[in-house]
Assembly symmetry: C2
Homo-oligomer: 525 residues x 2
């Protein structure tokens, strides 16, 4: 990307082969403005909107991100405003055999060595970035009791276990009053199962169950039980521990709280013995997503994140990108980037599944877009998708994950999820994410109690205004104060500091946590 910095005119061109660039100036630029290089604007162009860098004939492809984001609907001389009224949208790629399959054989980036972080290694080889006691629940019925117990554990017990960061109830609205044998039910069930196995929870699992719920503990813990490795002097700690509120042993509310706290004590002892150790960055599992996007998402925060993602992948880490409706129109880009035909097939399979899901609800991926997108300069969903995909960097896609599944490989992974910030975060958590990076243009106080969330602002004014809510300011890229590479490296180093516990994110400092939101494609009953 080249940033053209003048006294006034600021233009951003993402890829050398692009034939449009974006106006970065607050308030846009007036007609007649002479751009660096001599190009003069033939009309006013608003901030975030595209300027023609070449003469377009009708039908010529408009290239951004080195991708066709539209076609000129009329002649557009150099210096014209290129918007949705003077372009036509590429048709959405069909999910058929015309898709390019694993065709983009760029030169491989060299491995990145010498970077480490301090993590909590678990018996199964996974590595956590935080040391958290998670109390899983089978059903929402137990929520009030679990919240009470969590509060007391945090206040009365946690101070005695200084190596444990927090205690978190894994609360949700699933577990009963749902069609648990419907085809869609597998998704929320495996999501909850896999969240209980997140590396940040140290492999110790305790579950609070009501007793009569549909999602019985055995079913939550299937397909395979989660063994707790026996610790020294901890009898009974060699299996998952489940507290069932309806058990005869529980007489009254206080007895339920006592049962939970006694079990928690054993788990806290085990967790407190964990120590951080130096780990290669290949032990990181990072999930990336965006929310509250604006025109700068695709030119500042997302490219910088993409650069950092490339560093992580070159270092051997697992990085997930997601958000089905934001990549659907770029599916041909993804299948081309697939490392193997099998990966491309899996990408198509997930897109087709989601197309059908939306169709059942009589919606489609256009439900993703907002009037604000076009106002902000995004001509169509293709252009929006390109700005979202750019955060995945440039490496081949080496794996695809279905919603709620657990990741078991390294490299760049497409984890299929809805774009909803909370559902995406919840599903990446189930996949085993231990660090979350979130880019935002409009701003969101988003946080998760289970993993640190690093938030990246696309614009400097947001970063300034939300000074204690934004971890990184990528807006400096638009003004030429920093390059994509600068911010990418800064983000990369911050990720290692946060993963190591040397730094806390803004959301961690303020204890800002959003509720988990399960993806349940099945009906409630």
């Amino acid at each position: 990307m080249s940033v053209v910095v003048g006294q006034a005119p600021l233009l951003i061109k993402v890829h050398p082969l692009d034939n449009v660039a974006i106006v970065a100036n607050d308030g846009g630029l007036p007609a007649g403005t002479t751009l660096p290089g001599g190009l003069a604007l033939v009309e006013a162009v608003p901030q975030g909107h595209k300027v023609a860098l070449v003469d377009f004939a009708p039908g010529d492809a408009v290239m951004r991100y080195n991708v066709v984001v539209g076609y000129a609907a009329q002649a557009l001389p150099r210096g014209s405003w290129v918007n949705e009224r003077v372009t036509t949208m590429p048709t959405a790629p069909e999910l058929d055999d015309k898709l390019p399959i694993a065709t983009r054989k760029g030169e491989a980036l060299p491995p990145l060595e010498g970077y480490t972080f301090e993590g909590y290694r678990n018996a199964d080889g996974t590595v956590g970035t935080r040391n958290i006691l998670a109390i899983s629940t089978t059903v929402q019925c137990v929520q009030g009791v679990v919240e009470h117990a969590v509060r007391r554990i945090r206040e009365e017990m946690l101070p005695r276990y200084p190596n444990v960061d927090d205690v978190v109830g894994i609360e949700h609205t699933y577990g009963c009053g749902v069609a648990i044998d419907a085809p869609g039910a597998a998704v929320p069930i495996r999501t909850l199962h896999n969240i209980s196995r997140n590396p940040n929870f140290g492999g110790t699992t305790m579950v609070v169950s009501l007793g009569c719920e549909k999602l019985q503990p055995d079913r939550l813990l299937a397909p395979r039980a989660i063994p707790i490795r026996a610790g020294e002097g901890m009898p009974g700690a060699d299996a998952v521990e489940t507290i069932v509120l309806q058990d005869e042993a529980n007489v009254g509310f206080q007895s339920m709280i006592d049962s939970i706290m006694q079990t928690a004590e054993r788990h806290l002892q085990k967790l407190n013995a964990r120590k951080r150790e130096t780990c290669p960055i290949s032990d990181l599992v990072v999930g990336v997503q965006c929310g509250g996007s604006d025109a700068f998402s695709g030119v500042t925060a997302n490219p910088a994140l993409g650069f950092a993602v490339d560093l992580l992948v070159r270092g051997g880490a697992a990085v997930m990108f997601s958000e089905n409706t934001e990549v659907r129109d770029g599916i041909d880009q993804l299948t081309a980037r697939a490392a193997t035909p099998e990966v491309a097939e899996a990408l198509v399979r997930e897109m087709a599944w989601y197309d059908a899901y939306l169709e059942r609800g009589r919606a489609d991926r256009s439900a993703n877009t907002t009037p604000g997108n076009k106002k902000g300069g995004l001509s169509n969903i293709v252009e929006k998708a390109m700005g979202s995909i750019v955060k995945s960097g440039t490496t081949p896609i080496t794996g695809v994950l279905s919603p709620g599944d657990r990741l078991a490989q390294k490299g760049l992974i497409f984890a299929a999820t809805p774009a909803s910030d909370f559902i995406c975060g919840t599903l990446q958590l189930a996949a085993g994410m231990t660090l979350h990076v979130f880019t935002t243009g409009r701003g969101t106080p988003y946080g998760l109690a289970q993993v640190p969330v690093v938030k990246v602002a696309t614009r400097s004014d947001l970063a300034r205004r939300w000074h204690d809510l934004m971890d990184v300011n990528a807006g400096r890229i638009a003004t030429g104060e920093a390059t994509i590479e600068d911010v990418g490296w800064e983000l990369f180093h911050l990720m290692l500091d946060v993963a190591s516990g040397r730094k806390q994110t803004c959301a961690e400092k303020l204890k800002l946590h959003n509720a988990l939101a399960l993806f349940n494609p099945g009906p409630v009953t």
Copy 2:
């Protein structure tokens, strides 16, 4: 209903024409037990389960509540255990013109006069049972900030407003990342809109919005804005107050918290001026439901609740019963009880809509029953439905409400909702419920922050064991210690005490609250 009390064997037969009875004894009865009348058990029968009172040939109807709840799948001699493995389920009544329409013209119950409660009357005529500051939210993004603000308001401001019971954030997972123009979206939107208007919130509405979410404040508050009646000396309190976190005015986290707390202060001043006054029980809006049902639900707690519901309806109150999948198999009973053909048509319309909803998700009403139900002796959804419907009492059904709509009439109303405890409670809250009654056999610590929840145990051993979680013990009906009428009157009086604030429910005392759970029939994106 006849209760057969012996030294040991306790059998309950609901209707004289029933050919099965329920074992009431703790621990069930062993094989060989001789029952009053000479019948001997041919096998052990667990508590709550059915005993054959006659010899069944394959295909013979199993009668309970004078209704066919199943057919013998094999020969079942007298004294056999009749359970889901040896019976088949009746098919659901078709939603066609064979349904009886408003046919049950029983004699009307006499009006009930002379009962009142102490409530908070609002400017629009509705009456609250609690005095709560509700902070509505447009989107889950704001949750962390709102929770922080609510905690501080509760700790720092509430002590200065002694007439205000609590401050509650109306948090939910809707608002963005959803197909907001899909046909199903109207349900969660109107639910959130109507919850903000619940009578317990005193007609003062404050909303926290992020700014860029799909569910904009205007849309949340449509179709008509909710005016705040101007209070004395409260400038600016004549409109809904909305705090938008992305507003330029908010610089940093603390500024967001300050904005919310300053607005809350004005609303607390207004709420603090509310006083309880004596109101007729016709000002009550009661929602009833059950959860964690067992075989005793239909013979103890639900009939007692049904008796209390009759008292309320006779006194002119509005009472809602719900839970589509639990009444679907008894739809012919409901259409027969409809006060008018229009009400019957509305019942059929809601059932047909829900049948289609389940079918889209490839589920059906049989998805309702839980492992706990079957363990508790309920063979199938038909048997469960009969036991569930009995809590609606005996009066004609005078209205039908679609999910999320607000109730605007008195009498016995079928409020169509899923049976999920939390979704049903949330939808009844939107309807304007100010008091919730919840019957349970297996036990649940269920509570809501917005309205008091009175919990009724179906069995004495549950009531004893969960002594501080169950408000009423209907189990005494099974043992002959109390009649349905006794417990019904006790429940009725407790409801008036709780509504008046003279008594707190168990869940209130323990501050046990479950999250709201929206019914969203549309897709997420």
